[in-house]
Symmetry: C2
């Protein structure tokens, strides 16, 4: 771990870290409000105007933290993605296979909380380099979680397994997007399908060359 | 094969269908040229200017067929997508499993012919509703091909199998995009992995409820 003590700025006053924390807390407060607004009105309608009204602060203050409406929208998506990653990171005392299954369940929970926003953002992510970047970071985060579950660092994944994990994430994203459109199959069956897909893909000889860590048998 | 003799342009009214064919032939000729230009300079640099120079015709004529540079670019992607679907539609006398494997191989061949364009278009498709539409049409086309290979119409696919097929297509797209970035595994192994993934996913109880048509065993 980095020792943050050595980073305390000496130029102004000892209160600088406190001010920084206060700023960060205020930013998070506005962001939390913004996340709630998005699930009501959609990402496109989120603006400094709506946030300032909900927070009872000036629009100028919102613009101080988020220079444009687009910055605000991207910050909300990034915050949501971090919440998602946190929700996927389940009890490390469980087995890799249990964590995988719980992760799939948590992913669908997350999407179900605001399916409209997920659909519009996921289908249109290519329209905005900043959103593409958030999606890429999130996928990297999921790869790192899966690597950790099987006792590896993200950089230690064999190339075939890395490709299998990336391709499974794409499979999950597409499955859930497809499923949201009318829920053609029971949710529980979808979870089992995605879980079995991971068991199969990650234990494929291509991925593990015989190391079937995630295969429960 | 089309009989090009009937395409000889004629000015008189009785030749209206012939004129339509001549227009279509000229459009396709420009489109073929444009596809070649894209693999040299990239989709973004494709313009009426570059096509008119390559074809030795006026820019106005190119604009007559493609009202804007963006229309031209989308038409090229649509043409490429149709070529892709045609290349995936292999010998119907083969078994579904053989057709599936040959289809994976043909898909990778197609991407390898111009990986840069595929990467930029696939990663940025969300930026353009017209491109998103072409991608969606193409995925529909692939679903229909797979349905046909197992003796079903596209509309007859059970909901679980439809979801499995859609999710497999996403898995293939992501795998190939990931693989293009440094080709971390041998091409032949990638084909086998994607083929086995289809065998597994389409024969999953969720997808077929016991009808393991595509499973070779």
């Amino acid at each position: 771990m980095v020792n943050y003590a050595v980073r305390v700025p000496s130029v102004t006053s000892v209160a600088a870290p406190g001010r920084r924390l206060a700023r960060e807390a205020r930013r998070l407060q506005l962001l939390d409000l913004a996340v709630g607004i998005v699930s009501d009105v959609g990402l496109d309608k989120l603006s400094a105007e709506t946030v300032s009204r909900a927070a009872g602060v000036s629009k100028a203050l919102v613009f101080h933290y988020f220079p444009s409406n687009r910055d605000l929208q991207v910050a909300v998506v990034r915050e949501a993605a971090q919440n998602l990653l946190a929700s996927l990171d389940v009890d490390p005392s469980k087995t890799p296979d249990e964590r995988l299954r719980a992760g799939v369940d948590a992913f669908i929970d997350f999407i179900e909380a605001d399916p409209t926003t997920y659909q519009s953002v996921a289908r249109g992510a290519g329209s905005d380099p900043a959103l593409l970047e958030v999606f890429e970071e999130t996928r990297h985060g999921v790869v790192a979680l899966i690597a950790a579950a099987i006792g590896l660092r993200e950089g230690e994944l064999p190339p075939g397994l890395r490709l299998a994990v990336r391709s499974w994430i794409a499979l999950v994203e597409e499955s859930v997007l497809h499923w949201l459109d009318g829920e053609p199959v029971p949710r529980a069956e979808l979870v089992e399908f995605l879980h079995r897909a991971a068991q199969h893909l990650f234990a494929d000889p291509f991925a593990l060359k015989g190391i079937a860590i995630l295969n429960p048998d």
